[in-house]
Amino acid sequence: MPKRNNLWANIDWVTVLLFLALVFMGWLNIYAAVYNEHYQSIFDTTQRYGKQLIWIGAALTIGLIILLIDTNFYVFFSYIIYGFLLFLLILVLFIGKDINGARSWFAIGSFGFQPSEFMKFATALVLARYMSSYGFKIHNPKSLATIAAIIFTPVLFIFLQNDTGSALVYFSFVLVLYREGLSGVVLFFGTLVALLFVLALLVPSLILYSVLLAIALLAFFVVNTKLIQFTRVLGAYLISISVLFLLNFLMKKEYPLAEIVMAGVLLGSVIVLLVSWRNRIKNYSLIALVLLGSILFTLSVDYAFNNFLESHQQARINELLGIESDPLGAGYNVNQSKIAIGSGGAFGKGYLKGTQTKFNFVPEQSTDFIFCTVGEEWGFLGTSVVIGLFLFLLMRLIWLAERQRSSFSRIYGYSVAVILFFHFTVNIGMTIGLMPVIGIPLPFFSYGGSSLWSFTTLLFIFIRLDASRFDQL
């Protein structure tokens, strides 16, 4: 058993090393991204890599300070920190500086400070504090309401700042809630609704309906492996679709195939629902109901999108989802980003040899699109290593969280992991064209003081909590 009072011995140095590795690699790639033959010194502080070095130095200092502060500080002051940052969040709306259409920065001289970045750890602290309080029951409506208030108050103000990306990060807390006992149904339906919303707008309806049907059929098959039952269900759907198809043909109507399939799936689901209800096959009714609901939901999303939204609102959502496929228009950034990563090949073009990033084809190449530089100059090898390091860090954090004795530390640890995970997923997903272009940084990698310090704070508070896990009863 480690000594209780020896802080340094109890620190999880693996996490610290992972942190240092990511920060160092980030810095090297920022140098490559803005590399310019006129400013070759990597320590040149007029350039971004030089500045990043200063930010890194400051971040290490912040980390050290955090490690020296007593853990009780975070528990006791969590509400105060939260309140203070919320105040800044509101203040920034009035005296903040517009950058890229978002009013989320305080400009103090040449130095920028983004309160929404720091709000993340504050929210995590308060959430941990509230949920670890005595007698807390997650399914108590009052608790749920409080949790919602804790999470969505900052979200509201960040949305008002027009910083969608940062606001969406807070939805990742749902994973923490799930770990703490929130019904899996919420997670399932939450994910389903979000997924369907995006897919309804993104994927051609014929494919969407077919995929939904296929998934449902798989579910039917999995919950009841009796072939005869499954054949009946399959028959119900196929016959429904065929009959409608035939009717369309015979009556010389010209409904598109997608609508016929959709109507067929709806009809089939109703049949399956009625039959299984009567025969009390509960699983089947449930699946049929979910399928029915999913299709009706996508229909209503499409309908609402086309009928209730103004064209500029539609355009914004399209833009957010990356639907505009004009490679020189809205899709330009993603396309250039994919070209940069794809052109890296297996082993990359070599350090400082990337042409896509060096010649500014990739936008924001030192901040949101820093992963392109990794992909172009280090190839698949580099991207795998970076992704591997992130996976290692995330897994490690969950593992650390699970070994905490206090639920405060555990909840906070989970929060750290899911926030980092959300950033990781959205940022890299964006650069490879899997996610809509939402400008959020890649933790520890992207250029910028505010984001680096906030992630450092977020992580090091947990390292500190973990280091004193034995203090807790």
Partner: protein, 604 residues
């Protein structure tokens, strides 16, 4: 341990799922799919075409005729353009705001990311001013091109002009890209491949704003442009200028050839134009103005004006008659002047005439009888006609001379078939086609062909295909031009005819055409013209022995061959052979220079 601790595996699962998904996509993107590498190369490599300067053109004495000047194109990359002072911009370039707007719109439509030409061919003077201010306008840059420049206004039709390539040019030859220049007519067209040189390419690395960041692989893959080959023309610039000057206020053509080589010394089609008008930004405008001009300055009369040669054709018939023994040196035919039949004679002279007299006096009945005898010598008129036709064709008449003029007409030399079609087989004879005897009827000849015919007589029975290019730098001219083409008529018959041609000048035209101390031989002609005064023509060569120049002069509405064409020819010959006009002939020169034959109302 709490009851939900197992849920950590779901979280692990979610993490692992996303990572796995990323790795699969990255594997596809980076390893399986190679197209992105190509995209990246396309992104950063810009091939910049290096335009070579066109070859220069000199006259036969080494005087520069055509050279190059630098002009600048202003290019726009619409996406890089930021707000700018349009008034200043328009003033600098001397364009209207509407033009600017339309130009930007067009460029944007072509591509917002690629540069396209906004304004072509800015003069160096304007460019110098523009260059100083260009930094104020983002998204604009310039490239230099060379344009043709002419040392004089002479020889526009021979030199031709350069224009932008057409769609068909690009289709025909992949060397050309839209916006390239190509020789459209004249020497520029015929010798396009030699003159144009070879375009080079420079590989540049560019950033997203198309700003050049340096050369690719230190220029290893660059191909430098090869300058076009210089060409020495056969033209004599001084003589050309003199001939063009003689033709002021007249329509017509002069082609002069050096008989011993087939080199074209003078090539005039009047009225002509300043070749400098068809260069640069003003070209399109000027071209349509020239095209609309009723005097048709763009019409190349030397190659494309086709008309019956009239009396100037008489030596041909005499030569054929002598060769096929239809007549001989002593044969005489009576002339009853205007009472002659079937062709009357308008020329006032004695009778009967031998062949020399007939050529000298341009006696129609003699040539008619000769022609009748030629056709009558054979079993049928048609057979006789075919023999006659073959001889005529050997002079280069009625066929393409395959010279280096790109658009010469073939002319008309009727065939047996044609006459059969008109009159029916066996239903025509010498009488039916008698106009041919005096160079009228279905004959159609261009000035170039007539000048070549003059050279044949000067050479006493052969010619070299007339050509306008003497030398090409590091290259040879076509062997076609070095091949002697024989006319199957004995030299002695030429000598006979030449006596007549010499007497025509020395005796009959002594007052205005005879050149002191130079024995010029010539034959006048009058081309009937239904639309106005007849055309005046004259074919000649000089001196009689060792001829240095053979030429054909054609003056529209000049009435008689002796009135304008012959004196003008004599002046050109005198100028060429003695470099000046003798004092006692100055009055002729003045009269020719002052004559204005453009006024359609004047009676001559």
């Amino acid at each position: 341990m709490d009851i939900y601790s197992k849920r950590r595996f779901v979280v692990y699962g979610v993490f692992a799922f996303v990572v796995l998904l990323f790795l699969i996509i990255l594997f596809r993107l980076q390893i399986l799919n190679s197209t992105y590498k190509q995209f990246a190369t396309n992104n950063v490599l810009r091939e910049v075409t290096q335009y070579p300067a066109r070859g220069l053109i000199y006259d036969r004495n080494g005087k520069l005729l055509v050279y190059n000047k630098t002009a600048y194109d202003l290019l726009i990359t619409p996406r890089e353009v930021t707000a700018f002072d349009t008034t200043l911009f328009c003033n600098l370039l001397n364009i209207s705001k509407e033009n600017l707007k339309a130009g930007i719109k067009k460029a944007t439509k072509y591509s917002p990311y690629k540069p396209s030409i906004l304004i072509k061919q800015i003069s160096p003077e304007r460019f110098a001013v523009l260059k100083e201010q260009l930094y104020k306008f983002n998204g604009f840059h310039t490239q230099s091109r060379t344009l043709r420049e002419y040392s004089t206004t002479a020889a526009a039709h021979a030199l031709g002009y350069v224009g932008e390539v057409s769609g068909t040019d690009i289709k025909r030859d992949s060397y050309y890209k839209p916006g390239d220049y190509i020789g459209v007519s004249g020497i520029e067209k015929t010798y396009e491949t030699q003159l144009r040189g070879t375009k080079g390419v420079k590989m540049n690395l560019v950033d997203v704003h198309n700003r050049v960041q340096g050369s690719y692989r230190n220029g290893e893959d660059d191909v430098p442009a090869k300058i076009g080959k210089n060409i020495v023309s056969t033209l004599d610039l001084n003589l050309q200028l003199y001939a063009e000057n003689l033709f002021r206020n007249k329509r017509g053509s002069v082609v002069a050839i050096e008989p011993a080589t087939g080199e074209v010394l003078v090539f005039v089609s009047a009225p002509t134009y300043d070749p400098g008008l068809l260069v640069g930004r003003v070209r399109g405008h000027n071209y349509s103005e020239l095209l609309a001009d009723t005097l048709m300055p763009l019409f190349n009369r030397a190659l494309q004006a086709k008309y019956p040669p009239g009396s100037s054709f008489k030596p041909v018939n005499a030569l054929i008659g002598l060769q096929v023994n239809a007549i001989n040196r002593e044969t005489r035919f009576a002339c009853y002047g205007k009472a002659s039949s079937p062709i009357r004679c308008t020329h006032n002279h004695g009778s009967p005439n031998d062949v020399v007299d007939a050529i000298r006096e341009s006696c129609n009945p003699f040539l008619w009888n000769t022609f009748k005898s030629i056709l009558g010598k054979y079993k049928t008129s048609a057979e006789g006609f075919n023999v006659w036709r073959k001889y005529v064709a050997s002079f280069g008449i009625g066929q393409h001379l395959s010279s280096d003029f790109s658009n010469g007409l073939k002319g008309d030399l009727p065939t047996e078939k044609q006459y059969n079609k008109i009159y029916g087989r066996g239903h025509w004879n010498a009488l039916t086609v008698r106009s041919l005897a005096i160079g009228q009827g279905e004959l159609g000849v261009t000035p170039l062909q007539m000048a070549n015919y003059g050279a044949v007589i000067a050479n006493r029975g052969f010619y070299y295909t007339p050509h306008i290019v003497k030398e090409i730098e590091n290259d040879t001219i076509s062997s076609e031009f070095k091949t002697k083409r024989e006319v199957p008529i004995d030299k002695k018959h030429f000598e006979t005819v030449i006596i007549g041609m010499s007497q025509s000048v020395q005796r009959n035209l002594a007052a205005t055409v005879k050149i002191p101390e130079i024995e010029m031989c010539g034959k006048t002609g009058t081309v009937q013209n239904n639309q106005g005064a007849d055309h005046s023509v004259f074919v000649a060569f000089a001196p009689r022995e060792n001829p240095k120049i053979a030429l054909f002069v054609y003056v529209e509405n000049g009435v008689w061959g002796s009135r304008y064409a012959a004196p003008m020819a004599s002046l050109i010959v005198e100028k060429y052979l003695t470099d000046s006009i003798s004092a006692r002939r100055k009055w002729i020169e003045k009269k020719m220079l002052d004559a204005n034959l453009l006024d359609p109302n004047q009676k001559k």
